[in-house]
């Protein structure tokens, strides 16, 4: 994003000192430092050897069962459950990182619950949930007994009787559903007491030090930054608190939205204190967060649902993005190209994360990012309710409905909610399609950065040489892509089981993701604290941003539905039947 709308374009000369003085590079070093610590902690000091042994045992059991039984047997599933229990985040380092990066949690009527839960409260919650768990557990055990009997009956005929095999498969499916329900019910009996206040203080200090070091290298003063940063961190914490309330979450008003709202209210009423402004390092926070986000962009996820998923998520999305951008430029004549592309990416790719990545790549103004995200939140809240209701009303099948929602609703959480509201299979398809779209962020940010550097930012009639392209190119995008490529390579070389347990459930979900979330929360708090409402309201004039979003989303809805239908029902009906 632009630091200052009046800033003159860089003279284009790169220096070696840029590597330790420029914001983009410092964001890369900081992001990669965190990534490196997580990789070393999990790979060198984590439970890797223990996992290797346990995976071998489970895989041998599954292989033996697959050779013997023509369907997935109870023993096969139990071995799968043993594999799924293996998570890197359950290691000592994982627990340490999780504890010290905790943000205020959910609450319903008492905000204190988001910071503190006493042992008495935890025990009361567990006791309340216990009867439902015992009921679910009994149902699961009954379903398991029935499945065992059916499987033994099929085994007695050496699995040659199709009717007995089908009966066994059906009973095992019932057991799996009951088993999952029992697992979900069990989680609600495992509440633990907590107090996040000391860890929040520790985290604030940690961030102040590492970010302050970066600020100092950029030539700014360390102590003034640290002093003001406490306020930015406080706003981000309050944003997490306010966004943790159940109704606020339902309507999509989470920590990021509250960070902007709270910050803007302060900035435009009492006024952000002058000593806080040097700490509102929006771009530094966002760029570091984006480098960390790169680690979560795993290209292997693209094939999670096969070719249909690729077409729905990776073919329709760029078409919608480009068409919406062209529509915005040629028809609506949007006054700001950067606002246009940020809204187009936000709506077509995957909401907030895409908006952040693209806004940074094209150096959009923070007000433009705020506007794009605000619109996305409003329409996401509407679509999360309206789409599943419409799908149910017209009788669209779950798989098609899920694919449709996955490709059109902006935020992954809302997609999961809408999918689950429609049905289990809809949720599986919707969430997976959304995940595949999320992976597109890296490519989108890179392409937008290239396009902006080579075409949009160049002066009319002037050719842009390779060196100038390099100098103008937002370097943090390279850090973002490098993290993505490195992690994708590691993931593909580790194999599915170890990749899931140590990389996905360890380094990423138990490491980089936790820091990334905080960096984005801090950046939105900083955006709010440094945003003038009058500047923001300028962009609403004529309603063009809303018209752009609505038109683009309408195209997205039509194309996604058509593509989902073609791929899931005409070209690959066997995939749909298997799901």
């Amino acid at each position: 994003m632009e630091k200052d709308s009046n800033v003159v374009v860089d003279d284009g000369r790169a220096r070696w000192s840029d590597l330790w003085k420029k914001e983009d590079y410092l964001a890369i070093w900081l992001g990669f430092s965190i990534i490196l610590v997580c990789i070393i902690a999990y790979f060198n000091f984590g439970p890797r050897d223990e996992f290797v042994d346990k995976f071998d045992v489970a895989n041998q059991i599954q292989a033996a069962e697959s050779a013997k039984v023509p369907f997935k047997s109870i023993t096969w599933y139990k071995a799968l459950d043993d594999k799924l229990k293996l998570k890197g985040s359950n290691s000592e380092f994982g627990k340490f990182v999780s504890k010290w990066t905790k943000n205020p949690g959910s609450w319903k009527s008492n905000p204190v619950d988001s910071f503190i839960r006493t042992e008495k409260q935890a025990n009361a919650l567990n006791a309340k949930a216990m009867p439902k768990y015992e009921e679910a557990k009994a149902r699961s055990e009954a379903a398991l007994s029935a499945a065992l009997i059916a499987e033994q009956a099929a085994a007695s005929m050496s699995f040659k009787d199709d009717a007995l095999n089908d009966e066994a498969k059906a009973k095992i499916t019932v057991w799996r559903t009951a088993h999952k329900a029992a697992g979900d019910a069990k989680k609600k009996t495992e509440n633990k007491p907590y107090n996040f206040l000391p860890t929040l203080l520790g985290l604030c200090l940690f961030f102040a030090l590492i970010l302050g070091a970066g600020i100092h290298l950029m030539g700014q003063r360390f102590m003034p930054f640290v002093k003001g940063f406490t306020v930015v961190f406080l706003i981000a914490t309050l944003a997490y608190l306010l966004g943790g309330q159940t109704i606020s979450k339902q309507y999509g008003i989470g920590a990021e939205a509250w960070g902007i709202i709270l910050g803007m209210i302060i900035a435009n009423t009492v006024g952000t204190p002058k000593w806080v402004l040097p700490s509102c390092q929006v771009e530094f926070f966002i760029k570091t967060g984006l480098v960390l986000l790169g680690a979560e962009v795993l290209f292997s996820k693209i094939m999670a649902i096969g070719i249909p998923g690729v077409f729905v998520a990776w073919v329709v999305t760029p078409i919608v993005l480009i068409c919406t951008y062209i529509f915005g430029q040629k028809v609506l004549k949007m006054p700001s190209k950067t606002l246009n592309i940020v809204i187009s990416a936000d709506m077509s790719v995957c909401g907030t994360s895409a908006a952040i990545a693209v806004a940074s790549a094209c150096r959009a103004k923070k007000e433009e990012l705020t506007l794009a995200i605000g619109m996305s939140l409003v329409f996401t809240a509407i679509m999360m309710i309206a789409l599943p209701a419409f799908i149910k009303a017209v009788g669209i099948p779950e798989v098609l409905g899920g694919a449709w929602m996955g490709g059109t609703i902006d935020s992954t959480g809302a997609v999961a909610a809408a999918g689950a509201f429609l049905g289990e299979k809809a949720m599986y398809v919707a969430a997976t399609i959304k995940m595949i779209q999320n992976v597109m962020i890296g490519v989108t940010a890179f392409c937008v950065a290239m396009y902006w550097t080579m075409k949009v930012e160049r002066e009319a009639g002037r050719e842009v040489g390779a060196m100038e392209i390099w100098n103008r190119f937002p370097k943090f995008v390279l850090g973002f892509l490098a993290a993505s490529i490195i992690f994708s390579l590691i993931d593909s070389n580790m194999g599915k089981d170890m990749g899931t347990a140590l990389l996905d459930q360890g380094v990423i979900r138990g490491g980089t993701r936790l820091f990334r979330a905080w960096f984005f929360a801090l950046s939105f708090a900083a955006i709010g604290l440094s945003t003038n409402f009058r500047e923001l309201s300028k962009y609403f004039k004529g309603g063009k941003p809303v018209i752009l979003y609505v038109c683009g989303q309408s195209l997205n809805l039509v194309l996604t539905l058509i593509m989902a239908y073609i791929m899931f029902y005409l070209v690959f009906p066997e995939i749909t039947a298997t799901i």
């Binding site: 799968l80 799924l84 959910s106 319903k108 979900d184 309330q245 159940t246 109704i247 606020s248 979450k249 339902q250 309507y251 999509g252 008003i253 989470g254 920590a255 990021e256 939205a257 709202i261 209210i265 302060i266 009423t269 009492v270 986000l293 979560e296 996820k301 999670a304 649902i305 995957c350 909401g351 907030t352 994360s353 996401t380 999360m384 309710i385 209701a389 935020s411 992954t412 959480g413 809302a414 999961a416 909610a417 689950a420 949720m427 599986y428 398809v429 919707a430 969430a431 997976t432 995940m435 999320n438 996905d504 459930q505 990423i508 979900r509 993701r513 979330a517 995939i575 298997t578 799901i579």
Partner: protein, 74 residues
């Protein structure tokens, strides 16, 4: 004048913050209770603990579940 100005700004801060809180914690719950579908979604989200505000796939537990289910069946 400066004191008045600060007083006025503080008053504006409290007023706008109160409006924001009233909207999110007052009006939206009322809206939720007034419409069956919104109420059902609210109860559903509470039961499943799905957080609709989460924007990336690694923040959402149901994505892992979905990925694992599809890996098993496909």
């Amino acid at each position: 004048m400066l004191e008045q100005s600060l007083f006025y700004r503080t008053k504006k801060f409290i007023l706008i913050l109160s409006i924001a809180f009233a909207f999110v914690y007052g009006l939206l719950p009322l809206l939720t209770d007034s419409f069956d579908i919104l109420n059902r979604m609210s109860l559903f989200l509470e039961k499943t603990e799905i957080d609709p505000t989460r924007y990336y796939y690694t923040d959402v537990e149901q994505v892992i579940e979905s990925e694992q289910y599809l890996r098993t069946v496909l």
